[in-house]
Structures are given as C-alpha cells and as structure tokens.
Amino acid sequence: MAVILDALVQLAQLLLVLALAPLLTGYVRKVKAHLLRRRGPPLVQPYRDLLKLIRKEVVLAENASWVFRIAPYLIFATTLIAAALVPTFATGLVFSSAADLIAIVALLGSARFALALAGLDIGTSFGGIGSSREMMIASLAEPAMLMIVFTLSLLAGSTQLSSVSTFMQGQEVGLRVSLAMSLVALIMVALAENARIPVDNPATHLELTMIHEAMILEYSGRHLAVIEAAASLKLLLYLSLIACMFLPWGVATTGQGFAAYAIGLGTYLVKLAAAGFLLAVFETVTAKMRVFRVSDFLGAALMLGLLAALLLFVSQSA
C-alpha cells in the first residue's frame, strides 16, 4: 500500500515539475519585465514557444552526427529524472533511494557533458566557445556544490535528500553560520549552473558573451524545444533544491494523508514564487560580469563552501 502511495507521489512529482518548469521561466521573465516597466510576455508564453517549436521541422547542419541528434533527449531525460528525485512537496519518494544529492549533481553533470559535446559537433567556432566556457564554469561549480553537500551531510549525517530535509525540519538544527554560508554558496552555484546573470545572460545572443546559448546555437525545432524545456527544468530543480534543503517547512512526509500533501504543495508554490521573484530582482539589479571574472565568482563560492565545512568541524568537535 505504502509503496503504491509512494509511487503515486513520485509520479505526481514527475508531472508537477514537468508542468511547472516553463511556468517558472515565464514567471521570472514576467517579473523582470515588470521591474523594467515593461508588460512583458504572458506567463504561458514558454508553453506556446515549446508547442510551436516541436511542430516545426528540424533544420540540421550537414555534418551533424548522431551525437547532435540524441543529445537533446538525453539532456532532457537526465534533467527530468534529476528534478523528479528532488523532494518538492513531499519526501519519501519511491525512487529516492536511487540517487542521493551527489548522484543528482552528477546526473546534471552528464547532461552538461552531452550538451557540451553537441556544441562541438557541428564544428563552428561559437559552439566551441560555449562548450569550453561551460566546462570551465562547471569545473569550479562542481567542487563548490560538493562542499555544500559535505556541510549538509555533516549536519544531517546523510546525503539522502529526504533525510536531509526531514532533518532540517527538526528542531536541533538551530541557526548556524555555516548553513548561511552554504546557502549563499548554493545560490551562487545555482546562478552559474543555470546560466543566469551575472554569469551568463539567458536573453542574449551577443556572440562573444553567450555561453549556454552558444552551445545550442545550431539547434532548431523539436531539438531546441526539448533543450529549452530541460533548461527550465534545471532552474526549477535548483530552486526546489534550495527550498527542500534550506526552507523545508511544510514538506509532507510519507503517509501523512492528502491534507499534508496539499499543504506541502501550497507551501512549495509559495516558495517557488518567492525564489523566482528574488531571482528576477537580483538579475535586474546586477550586471553580467566578464567571462574570466566568473572564476573568481565561483572560486568565492568554493571558498565559502569549504569554510562552512571547516566551521562546522569546529562547532561540532568543540
């Protein structure tokens, strides 16, 4: 019985993230537009784009190989699975044992790997620019992310997201400097990973500054649609990661009945809205930095993460 319930929750969560991701993107755009005194596109615009794109025919460069054609689906699938494994409104997902936080990060890594290869496949200079910069950023973002994982697992004694969020709901956590540090670090990493300002600009097509857009420059039609969907899924994933680890209030646990699930869902939506709003504000008030400043930015994140872990040692062993 419980298993079936978990399975249902899992399925629900899968569909939920799938449905919410474009909405989140559109919401962020909307808020940004408002902050800039524009009306901006309607919230549902991303859905329309996706539908339009998947109906169009694909225009494929001549020397595109199978890597180029398979990559979008792989990226999408990987991101989707990763997103589905992050507790949003309820923990105790049936597949949660399949991957802990490290594995989820690694899954995103696989998606990035595929994307970077796709960027190189056509053999244009822009694809190369995008891939190489993406890998440089990732090489710094991943250690930072791991340090955050380290801190959390030190506290919660686990890298299993369900356990972490259950632990964070508990009382003994209290307010901790290292938690704050790792939160900041996580936000910085999230900005970098999702190609947001100040690291990258999702709206630009100015050749020399773009990173993510450069890699998908040659994509069109359904491939492009799938990749865009994956991108928004990734954003959602990171926001819900922050939500379930640092503000886990209201997340339902196994077998609490539908009321709890409803509450969980509600709180989750509120959290998303808040996070998205903050993101938009942040993006509006900051400027994009030069590519080679990114290393300092992410280096700072890494240092923060390491510091958080070390501080935790001090406080724990004392």
Partner: protein, 670 residues
C-alpha cells in the same frame, strides 16, 4: 591447484616469448603470439576470477627451487593477488584480442612480439610473488619487458629518450623498494613474506619503509612528482601495449604499495594516511591539469592515468587513516572504493587507448589538432570511445562514477576521525577530488570533441577508415563492462569483500540482496545509489519523449549548411581546437600550475602577415626536482672527468698520497 594453473600459464607465455624470438620476422608469428596470449590470459582470468569469488585457499602456495638458493621462489595466491590477477588478465585478454588486429599494422613486429608475452608473464608473476626477492625480480622483469616494448619504435629520437627516462625511473623505484625490503627483512635476510609479517618493525623503521614504498611504487604508478616518465613512455609504445602499461601496469604498482603497507608493514600510524592523501590529491589535480594542456591524444590519456592513480591513492590514504584509528568498516569502504576504481580505471583506460590506437592506425596521427570529424568515418570506434570518455569522467550511469561516489562516501565519514590534521585535510581533498572529476569531464569533452566531432582538419582525417573487427570487439567488450560495472556495482563490491576482509579484517555489508540492486555502503538513511534504476529511467524518459514528439508533433528534418550566427566559415581551421578549448581553464589554473604565458604578435597595420599566438608553459615539477639533479650529476661528472687527463706524475702523486695518508692513519691509530 589454481596457483599451478597460473604458473603454467606464465610458463606458456615465456615459452611463447622465446619462440617469438625465433620466428620474429614471419607474418604468421603475429597471429601465433597474440592468439596464444589470448587463450592463456583467458584461462588465467577464469582461474583468478573463480579464486576471487570462491575465496582462494590460503594454503595455495608453492616454493620453486629457483631464485635465491637458500630461499627459493615462493608463490602464493590470496584474495588480494587474485583481484589484481583479474585486473591484469582482463587487460591482457582484451589487449591480445586487440593485438590480433592491430598487430598487423606493426612496422617492426620483431621488436614487439617477443616482449609482449614476457610483459604479461612478468605482471602475473608480480601478483603471485610471495618473497621479497621474487617480487623484486619479477617487478623489474616487468619493467624491462615494457621498456623493450617502449623502444619498439626506437627510431624516433624522443621515443628513445622516453625509454631511457623510463628505465632510469623504474630502476630508481626498484632500488628504493629493494631498500624497503632490506629494512623489512632485517640483517638475517628473512626475505619470505611470511617471515616479514612475523616481525613487528619499530615506528622509525616502518616510517622509512612507508616512505620508500611510496617512492618505489609511486614512481611506477606515476605519483606526482615521480610521474615524469609516464606521459613519455606510455604513448611511445604500440597502442595495445600503452593500454597495458597505463591500464594494468600502474595497477601492479598499486598492488605493490597495498601489499607492503596493508599486508607486510603491520598497523599503520595516522599520519601515513595524511601523507598518502596529500600526495593523492595533488596527483589527481595536477594530472588532469597536465592532461588538459595536452593535444597529443595518447599523452593526454597517459596524464589521465596519473590523475586516476591520484584518486586511487586518495582512497588508500583514507583507508590507512581509518585503519590507524581502528575504524574498520569506514576503512573497508575506502579500500573498496580504491580497489573498485583500480578495476574500473583498468577497464576504461584500456578502452580509450584502444580507441586512440584505432585512430592512429586509421590516420597515422596522434595530434588532435590535425584530426576531427572522425565520428562520420569511424562511427563504432567513436561510440566506444564516447562510452570510455563518459566513464572516465565519472558520470552516471557508468562505472567511473560509482567508485568515485564510494570515495566521496568515505570522505564524508572523515569527521569522525580524531586527528585535527585529518579533519581539516580530508574536506580539502574532497574538493580536490571533485575538482579533478569536473576537469576530467572538461578534458574528455575536449578530447572526444576535437578528435571525433566537428569537421576534419586534415586530409588524413578525411580519408580515415573504420578499424578492424578484432579491435572493435575488444573495445565493445570493455565498453559493455563499463556499463555493467556502472549499473550493477553490487556484485563487484561483494567480490571485493574477501580482499578487504584479508587486509583490514572487515568488509562492506552484502550488497546484492538489496531491493532493486541498490547499493548502500553504510546505511539506507545515509546514502544509497542505484545505477540500474537511473539508467532505466533515463532511457525510458528519453525514449518516451522522442516517441511522443515524433508521433504527435513533427518528425520532419531538413539538412542545410550550419547557421553559425549567419556567417558560416568555409575552412575547418576556424573550428575550436583542443588548445583553444582548454584556453579558459588555462587562464584560470595554468598561470599558477605551469607559469603559462600567452604571447600574441600582431602584424603592423597595412601588412597582410598572419598574426601569431604562442603559449609558453613550464613543467614546474621538472624544473624543481629533475633539472637540479641532472645538472648536479653533470657538474660532478665534469669536475671528476678532469682526472682522466692528468699526467702520470699526477697519478703517481695520488698513489703517493694514498700511501702517506694510510701510513699516517696507522701511526695515529697505534
């Protein structure tokens, strides 16, 4: 019994080597040698595998009346040896299979065929040796055989140099191991491993032995700063030998280190762990950085071997640290991670070297700047190479990720270590590990992209042909292993149980019984991973998405020139090369690690000369460690060499001086 079979396998191999000397020049010899090697290593693999799974009987040991007269040559097959025999013979098996095809293109078969079986025999014997003399003898024999293989293409000046440096470093390592065993054996000369286990060395002695073992085994495994020979020697050999040297022989070095520190040396001190961890971390990061700066495909792979050796030593260092504090199950976890990575790395590194060999035979090029677009000409090779790249980049669902995940789990257990140094060290090492993993991913995007993707940069790349069936078979066998070990790690972890049991007296909980083959190193609530599930989910999701879109939306597709922001370039030269791909990372790390300087020369206005761009990098390790030694030796040689051209009178003065000195000594002594 099993031991007898293994030893007879070795005998057959040696016989083959001798026979190959006789018929070296004939074409048929190639077929003969490789098929014999194939059969023999298959047999050895079967025996060793069954010994590992069913548990080798500790009584399975023999003493042959060869080697040191009063000592004899002791051989024993235990769990540790069995594991490494599996690794060795799996490598030999695939390499022989590959050689059946690759060997046909060998320009100088006479310089490869006799030494190939000898090399295999040497590695197998090392894992079986049960006394110091036999161990060192076979160890150096292995080095010698591989040296001969490195010198196979000796007409290139740098190959000869590589061989020289290799043999020098190998002898250096052997000498320090020799000293280590001299300490362990004591003045009585108790060289048998049993006798060595019997005596408990004093702390100073064991510290010295650890240092010597690190130097000796590390110089063969390629620990920084003893790695310099590795990227020179491994690529110089024929590719299947490179695969063996990189994928397997370095593991034999790891075996030597494990055998000495975990088995012979007795209980460790906590700082051993710290030392090994530090070395491992530095090696991992530096290795991958070197690899990123490299544009020779085989050398890049060799540098990645350095990196993976670093990862393995991180695991070993953690195991030592835990063991020193008598935390047995964490130690078992760390050691399992290290040993599993030993297996995984041997698999995908062999695969990658085979791929590079296929590229080499197809194009005659190792330089990635002159390749590209091979995925269209050699799709199967490209696919296998892609699998290998994903696995070595530690990405799920392949095997590289599992062992690194286990290592991370062990790192996450470090807070319970009492020593402060370790408390602070281990997180930093964890960061270094993550850094090297991420950089490795970048490096293999570069390697695969520059070699197989994009448009061909030269004519040879354009005219490349898919390689032969033998090579492809062995590559796909290895690729399948990468996936299987990645999605069903439980079985492999359980197979490692006896080894950790033997060395640490503890092992991980049984994995294979668990729900959906999830692996749970410590506790369900703490962490778990299920590669199989992830694999199924991802494939299903991808397939469903593709199916749905093509079914209900559109499947239309049109080919056209690349868009490239509106100005497509005719020439493939404008593609991103491997150097330009690595440029951002070089900007970030290179200025520190290599003193990298970029030098741009722009033609004066109005002239049509091409602009020039140069990157100057220095190998700081070489400058810091090897250059001084080199210059010191030549300084001393120059000074002393003056003696050669003295006059007879001066020589007589030497004699006279000796007489007077000794007489004075005598007068004083009395």
């Amino acid at each position: 019994m099993a031991l007898t079979v293994l030893l007879s396998c070795v005998a057959v191999l040696l016989g083959t080597a001798v026979a190959a000397v006789a018929g070296a020049c004939r074409r048929a010899t190639t077929l003969f040698v490789y098929s014999i090697a194939l059969i023999v290593s298959a047999a050895a693999l079967a025996v060793a595998g069954s010994a590992l799974l069913t548990g080798a009987s500790p009584a399975d040991s023999v003493r042959l009346p060869i080697g040191l007269p009063w000592l004899g040559a002791h051989f024993r097959l235990d769990a540790l040896g069995a594991l490494f025999l599996v690794v060795i013979n799996l490598g030999s098996l695939t390499a022989s299979l590959y050689g059946l095809g690759y060997g046909r293109h060998e320009p100088a078969p006479g310089r490869v065929l006799p030494f190939f079986p000898a090399f295999l025999a040497g590695m197998t014997l090392v894992a079986l040796a049960d006394d110091a003399f036999t161990f060192l003898l076979t160890w150096e024999f292995m080095s010698l055989a591989s040296w001969a293989l490195v010198m196979a293409h000796h007409r290139h000046a740098d190959n000869a140099r590589a061989g020289y440096i290799y043999l020098l470093m190998a002898s250096f390592g052997t000498l320090s191991l020799l000293l280590a065993f001299g300490l362990l054996a004591g003045p009585g000369g108790g060289y048998a491993f049993d006798a060595i286990r019997g005596v408990a060395p004093t702390p100073i002695v064991s510290a010295a032995v650890l240092t010597l073992a690190l130097v000796g085994a590390g110089s063969k495994a390629g620990l920084v700063p003893l790695h310099v020979w590795l990227p020179l020697a491994h690529p110089a050999a024929p590719s299947h030998v490179s695969a063996l040297m990189s994928g397997v022989m370095t593991k034999v070095a790891v075996y030597g280190f494990v055998r000495i520190t975990f088995d012979l040396l007795g209980p460790p001190a906590w700082w051993w762990g710290a030392a090994v961890l530090t070395l491992g971390g530095i090696t991992a990061v530096l290795g991958v950085l070197y690899a990123l700066m490299e544009h020779d495909l085989k050398r890049l792979l060799a540098y990645h071997t350095v990196e993976n050796i670093g990862i393995i030593f991180i695991g070993l260092g953690l195991a030592l640290a835990f063991q020193a504090n008598d935390m047995r199950s964490p130690a078992a976890l760390a050691l399992t991670a290290a040993l599993f990575h030993v297996f995984n790395h041997s698999v995908f590194k062999s695969l990658l070297f085979f791929g590079s060999g296929a590229v080499l035979t197809a194009t005659g090029e190792r330089d990635m700047e002159r390749l590209g677009g091979l995925i269209h000409r050699m799709p199967l090779t490209a696919f296998a190479f892609l699998v290998g790249s994903t696995a070595i980049s530690a990405l799920p669902p392949f095997n590289g990720f599992v062992s690194e995940w286990l290592t991370f789990q062990a790192i996450l257990l470090s807070p319970s270590l009492p020593q402060w140094l370790l408390k602070f060290l281990v997180p930093a090492i964890g960061a270094m590990l993550a850094l090297s993993a991420a950089l490795a991913a970048g490096c293999f995007v570069k390697a695969f992209g520059a070699t197989f993707l994009g448009r061909p940069r030269t004519g040879v790349a354009q005219r490349a042909q898919e390689t032969d069936a033998f090579s492809l078979t062995s590559m796909f066998v290895l690729a399948a292993l990468c996936l299987i070990a990645g999605i069903l790690p439980g079985y492999f972890i359980d197979a490692l149980g006896p080894v950790t049991q033997q060395l640490l007296g503890a092992q991980l909980p049984q994995q294979t019984g668990l729900q959906w083959l999830t692996i749970v190193p410590i506790a369900e609530s703490r962490s778990s991973y299920n590669g199989l599930l992830l694999f199924i989910l991802i494939v299903a999701a991808a397939w469903v998405t593709a199916y749905v879109i093509r079914r209900w939306a559109s499947g239309a597709l049109r080919r056209s020139p690349a868009w490239d922001c509106g100005f497509p370039d005719a020439s493939p030269v404008t593609q991103y090369t491997s150097a330009s791909f690595a440029q951002p990372i070089r900007r970030v790390f290179g200025s520190v690690a290599f003193h990298a300087r970029e030098e741009v020369w722009m033609p004066p206005p109005g002239q049509t000369l091409p602009a020039r761009f140069h990157v100057h990098m220095r190998d700081l390790v070489w400058d810091a460690v090897y250059a001084p030694v080199e210059s010191a030796v030549s300084w001393a040689a120059d000074r002393l060499n003056k003696v050669q051209s003295w006059t007879i009178r001066a020589y007589l003065t030497l004699v006279f001086g000796a007489v007077v000195v000794l007489l004075t000594v005598l007068a004083v002594w009395q």
